[in-house]
Amino acid sequence: MEAFTTHTGRAVPLRRSNVDTDQIIPAHWLKKVTRDGFEDGLFEAWRKDPEFVLNRPEHSGATVLVAGPDFGTGSSREHAVWALQNYGFKTVISSRFADIFRGNSLKNGLLTVVLPQETVEALWQLTESDPAAAVTVDLVTRTVTAEGVEAAFELDENARWRLLEGLDDISITLQNEDAIAAFEARRPAHKPRTLTH
């Protein structure tokens, strides 16, 4: 996984709540069997509208997405995270994320930052009036800074450490091989099995 320490970039204000993963990447894109090549599918339906915020030239090359509450609801498709990353986003800011989307993001090094809606609104206003405004998301200090905005955010220490180091979860888990084997040895016999030996 790509490590995340700090990132400064321009932001896209997405004034929408309940942005579900079907909007982030529509289902027909899910037939691909790779983790890349999803950038053209990102917000595919909305991007057909030339006025959609992502299509506006002043936001081209932005790397920070600032969205309304309940971002990433619905389907568990990790393709939504890959599509955002393939397009160039490094971090997403919202007042509330759906659980599965947030978990998927953190496993891929896409930092999801939870800030109060007032701060999201301030970032919207800033980037709407000055699309070139720089927004810095710093995971080391757990702060988001931009002109007139300085906000701290929470992220549990373990998730933060994994992101800062870019650690592979599976390798970490496999350090507990003895504990897994011991658990397997004491599982009751009545538990279901998919294969009959």
Binding site: R16, S17, N18, D20, D22, Q23, P26, A27, H28, L30, K31, K32, V33, T34, R35, A45, G68, P69, D70, T73, G74, S75, S76, R77, E78, H79, V81, R96, A98, D99, I100, G103, N104, K107, N108, Q117, D156, E157, N158, A159, D169, I170, I172, T173, L174, N176, A179, I180, F183, E184, R187, P188, A189, H190, K191, P192, R193, T194, L195, H197
Partner: protein, 474 residues
């Protein structure tokens, strides 16, 4: 202090607990399908890892599969590649797979329970958000992403962040004509699409206890639409009766041991939930959605709401955008909304009981002119049972299309889709923009409302058909 059902199941699966780290949980059952697994198997190959427990893993083909001409090669080359990739991955890694054409094939969340693999007190995961379905058995069941699919394949465990607990108590009895689907749609409208965020919901109370397993699965299935981590219902005699004798249910002495354990899986009297919601069952009525998220719903007797009535600016904006997308005008009675498509099926409402209830409404009646109705069983087993009961004949004689098992029109990944501007009454779980096909408009409904709507051509409940006589059979 006592523990809740969810806490008991969680505690029984902790492999490792350490201060400041997420608990490492053992996973009893891992379900796979073609869409969210290819990149996970790829990851295993790249790191030279095997599937740790093939005996706790099972795969089925469902999202991409066509529901017509299943004996012919799949027309869409990208869908075909994805299914062929799953077949190769399962063969290479020794995973049991039920492919298109197999008697056990079907929607992954219909297949697990019908095989008896979904059991009380187990942890179940799948790279699919509707894994919450399995909570109907008192299992702790989570939808996961592809990175986690790879993690479970490699380790049979998952590090999981702690959760909060919510009780949704449904007091009293559901009135006649009100189903589990109406209940869960009403719950989501009440708590919102983010209302369950961070919580495992336990559904309890008299109305829940009286539900069949199929109905309980419908409820737990849509927990994710309220943003919940999972939904659960305590196992009871209804659960045990459903499981007894199924292929993978325990038997003999193991059955007795299992039942003794399952009976301990109830929230203790003195347990405390982090949040509680109480619903009065008697006040409920058939419920449908008017908007573009599952929380935007109302009783069928209501009208399309005026966005101006929302005080919260983001809700108001969401309602405005929803009405625009749905092509609806505030104040229009929901019963006046005409549809051109009716879909009965999906992991929410594609089980035998759902087909029976839709057939009971359609018996002797006809699908309205200009309406296309698709009936798609959730699995091949459900289809075989329906045929044995003659339900397929009821559907085809009414003018509906009887299809092969699969996810079908629940999502736009296979040939069953809405065309731009088409409007459906659908028993599936999501009314998101474009979910059933680009530009398609979806109203989520129960199987009974779907069938009645097919007859009238406008959103309707079976009670609305009282004036439409059913020809007497001779």
């Amino acid at each position: 202090m006592g523990r809740t059902l969810a806490e008991k199941v969680w505690d029984d699966h902790v492999v490792r607990r350490a201060e400041g780290e997420p608990d490492l949980l053992f996973i009893d059952l891992h379900l796979l399908h073609e869409v969210t697994s290819p990149q996970a198997f790829d990851g295993l190959r790249k790191s030279g890892r095997a599937v740790r427990r093939t005996d706790l893993t099972i795969a089925t083909e469902d999202h991409n599969t066509p529901t017509l001409d299943i004996d012919k090669p799949i027309a869409d080359p990208v869908s075909r590649t994805q299914l062929e990739t799953l077949r190769k991955n399962c063969a290479d890694f020794g995973v049991r797979l039920h492919s298109l054409g197999d008697d056990e094939q079907g929607v992954v969340h219909v297949v697990g329970p019908q095989l008896g693999l979904t059991q009380p007190g187990t942890t179940v995961v799948c790279g699919d958000s509707h894994t919450s379905t399995h909570g109907a058995f008192g299992a702790l069941a989570f939808g996961i992403g592809t990175s986690q699919v790879e993690h479970v394949l490699a380790t049979q465990t998952l590090p999981m962040a702690p959760f909060k607990t919510m009780a949704i108590t449904v007091e009293g009895e559901l009135p006649d004509g009100v189903t589990a689907k109406d209940l869960i749609l009403a719950i989501i409208a009440r708590i919102g699409t983010g209302g369950g965020q961070g919580y495992v919901i336990e559904y309890r109370g008299e109305a829940i206890e009286k539900l069949s397993m199929e109905a309980r699965m419908t409820i737990c299935n849509m927990s994710i639409e309220a943003g919940a981590r999972a939904g659960m219902i305590a196992p009871d005699e209804t659960t045990f009766a459903y499981l007894r004798g199924r292929d993978h249910a325990p038997s003999g002495a193991e059955w007795d041991e299992a039942v003794a354990y399952w009976k301990t899986l109830r929230t203790d009297e003195d347990a405390v939930f982090d949040h509680e919601v109480v619903i009065d069952a008697a006040a409920l009525a058939p419920f449908v959605t008017w908007g573009t998220n599952p929380g935007q719903g109302a009783p069928l007797s209501a009208a399309v709401p005026d966005p101006g009535q929302y005080t919260d600016p983001s809700e108001r904006l969401a309602a405005e955008k929803a009405l625009e997308y749905m092509g609806l005008t505030a104040g229009t009675p929901l019963r006046d909304i005409s549809v051109d498509t009716v879909f009965v099926g999906s992991c929410t409402n594609g089980r035998i009981e759902d087909l029976r209830s839709a057939a009971a409404v359609l018996q002797g009646r006809k699908v309205a002119d200009g309406v296309r109705m698709l009936v798609v069983p959730g699995s091949v087993r459900v289809a075989l049972q329906a045929v044995q009961e003659g339900l397929d004949k009821v559907f085809t004689e009414a003018g509906a299309e009887w299809r092969h098992a699969g996810c079908s029109m629940c999502l736009g990944m296979n040939p069953d889709q809405l065309a731009p501007g088409e409007r459906s009454a659908s028993t599936s779980n999501r009314n998101f923009e474009g979910r059933q096909g680009k530009g398609g408009r979806t109203h989520l409904v129960s199987p009974q409302v779907a069938a009645a709507t097919a007859v009238t051509g406008t959103l309707a409940s079976p009670a609305d058909l009282a004036g439409v006589p059913v020809p007497v059979e001779v």
